[in-house]
């Protein structure tokens, strides 16, 4: 049972890492808490659901869900966030919340309020170990594999490619990067395409894991991803992965063993507040420079 809980915690943590990665990337460049990223999470799942219904092909559904949501991310930054870049962070925050509310209601009106099945069929078989009381579900392998591959691609893009160099320079100091001849507008656009693409993958994978898509599926990620990115040190992709694993593990183990009196979704914030008291800059954040 213990082993089962540990692996379950890692799977939940991986889902959180993917979900929060989009918002981490956006924060890294724009310094805004992008709540509408959770809207992209639901949109990705729904677009994928739609294409699965129309074509019956999981590959088409997956590719369409991710690319269309990434394109949506491009539009969001072009028409909403980029013009608000030099305004107070509260403005972008409220704009993002407004967009999130809008998207959620839009999905409800278009697709109906009820949960729909996102059935990709059995992609991978489950494996059982009766002697260890352990069941490894096929969807778990799918999620762990997808997370590992995507995080590797992200690491490669950010650390080993020219656009990654531009990304890191812009994240450090947008004005200086611009003065050095980096096309920061393109970096910002790339950032949103990548960020919303990640959100879509997370939404689709969670849809497959629970075999359901529904309009309010972005509600819990909307605030939990904030807890994850803040715990990780805000805008630090590695910190986000670490924080996601810490929170996923804490939720599974505390919920499963200690029977915490608080509901599962409050645990993330209790962990966050306790760790911030000890490290105000988050797990891997830099100290404030004042």
């Amino acid at each position: 049972m213990f082993l089962q809980q540990i692996i379950n915690g890692i799977v939940v943590g991986s889902v959180y890492a993917l979900t929060a990665m989009g918002a981490t990337l956006v924060y890294g460049i724009m310094r805004i808490l992008d709540i509408s990223n959770a809207g992209a999470y639901a949109i990705g799942a729904y677009v994928s659901f739609f294409f699965l219904m129309q074509t019956g092909s999981p590959i088409v559904a997956l590719v369409a869900g991710v690319t269309l949501t990434a394109a949506f991310g491009f539009l969001v930054q072009k028409f909403l966030y980029a013009p608000l870049m030099n305004k107070s962070p509260n403005v972008s925050l409220i704009a993002g919340i407004g967009l999130f509310i809008f998207l959620q209601d839009f999905l409800r009106l278009v697709a109906g309020p009820q949960a729909r099945e996102l059935n990709f069929g059995t992609l991978l078989p489950s494996i059982q170990f009766p002697s260890l009381q352990l069941t490894l579900y096929g969807t778990w392998f799918l999620i762990l594999g997808a997370t590992a591959v995507l995080l590797f691609i992200l690491w490669y893009l950010l650390n080993r490619s020219p656009i990654g160099l531009a990304w890191r320079a812009t994240a450090q100091d947008l004005e200086t990067a611009k003065a050095m001849g980096i096309n920061t507008n393109r970096v910002v656009a790339f950032n949103f395409i990548l960020g919303y693409g990640f959100a879509a993958v997370a939404g689709i994978l969670v849809g497959i894991l629970y075999n359901a898509v529904y309009p309010t599926m972005g509600d819990v990620p909307a605030y939990k991803m904030l807890a994850v990115i803040v715990l990780g040190g805000l805008g630090n992709p590695l910190g986000t992965v670490l924080a996601a694993l810490v929170i996923g593990m804490a939720e599974t183990l505390i919920g499963g063993y200690i029977g915490f009196f608080l509901p599962r979704d409050a645990i993330a914030f209790v962990v966050l507040i306790l760790i911030l008291l000890w490290r105000p800059q988050g797990l891997l954040g830099r100290r404030r420079t004042s």
Partner: protein, 296 residues
């Protein structure tokens, strides 16, 4: 009466928006958990009057004090962390406090709490009396807000918001003023919660959940953070919007979300902030009234 209930809701929203404006608008500390303090006030008042038999007039300030106590603790925490960390921490506080209301027996757990109608000097409070009380409280807070920007406290808070280090070099301790702003803002929110509890006669944890906090912040930002009249305008508009758009009831949230996006995109400084459309019109009317035609 329908109109009275709407007016009471507007009055509650205006108090909440003004109290948040003290923390976020004047002291520059982002708060996304204001409903937690509203809830602390409501539950304190409910317990004091229903279980301990306190009179409403004593429970009202006590609710504010209880909220302010937690608010000051949050203020002490806020001086340690950076802005965006604080914003998310306040979300966390909202979730944790709602969870406590929902799971602890003392607070009625998932059943909620019944709250007696207040009796003051022999008068049993109905909606009319609640409305009068709200108007009085709104006036008091409004006068305080009017006075604040020109007072030593307001100037110090403005200094903290605009440039913390400069304020510190002039001998202000920014930390004290931040904590102070949290104390006042949450005190008002707590009192508002007390009025809400006695108006509704019944409270449960979901009345104070995260979306309520988002709503309050939206009101203040929509109207204009840091202005005196902006949050009031925002509170009126966003409270009335669901009523006005009742005829498209199925699209209400769509309209609400769209409204927030469009307002932030085209009037990011708020409806009455510097250089906003309304303020320009207002200035134009005023200068024309004085005989000047400077603004063509």
């Amino acid at each position: 009466m329908y109109e009275q209930v709407i007016a009471i809701n507007v009055g509650l929203a205006m108090l909440l928006a003004m109290s948040l404006n003290i923390i976020t608008g004047f002291a520059g500390q982002p708060t996304l958990g204001h409903a937690a303090f509203y809830g602390i006030g409501a539950y304190t008042s409910a317990l004091l009057t229903a279980k301990a038999g306190w009179p409403f007039l004593l429970a009202l300030p006590a609710s504010g004090a209880m909220a302010a106590l937690v608010g000051v603790l949050l203020g002490l925490f806020s001086v340690r962390v950076r802005e965006d960390f604080l914003a998310v921490t306040t979300i966390g506080i909202n979730f944790v406090i709602v969870a406590i209301f929902q799971y602890v027996q003392l607070f009625g757990a998932s059943l909620g709490l019944a709250v007696p109608k207040p009796v003051v000097f022999g008068i049993r409070f109905g909606n009319t009396e609640i409305l009068i009380l709200l108007i009085v409280l709104n006036l008091l807070v409004y006068l305080f807000m009017r006075h604040l920007p020109n007072s030593w406290l307001g100037l110090a808070l403005g200094g903290v918001r605009n440039d913390e280090e400069a304020a510190a070099s002039l001998g202000f301790n920014p930390d004290h003023y931040k904590v102070f702003a949290f104390g006042i803002g949450t005190f008002i929110a707590g009192m508002t919660g007390s009025v809400y509890a006695h108006f509704m006669g019944f409270i449960s944890s979901t009345d104070f959940s995260f979306p309520v906090s988002v709503g309050v912040l939206s009101m203040a930002v929509l109207g204009g953070l840091g202005t005196v009249s902006g949050p009031l305008l925002g509170a009126i508009i966003l409270t009335l919007a669901p009523e006005v758009f009742r005829f498209v009831s199925d699209y209400r949230m769509l309209v609400y979300g769209g409204l927030l996006v469009l307002m932030m995109r085209f009037q990011p400084q708020g409806m009455v902030g510097d250089d906003s459309w309304l303020r320009q019109r207002w200035d134009a009317v005023r200068t024309r009234g004085k005989g000047g035609a400077r603004r063509g």
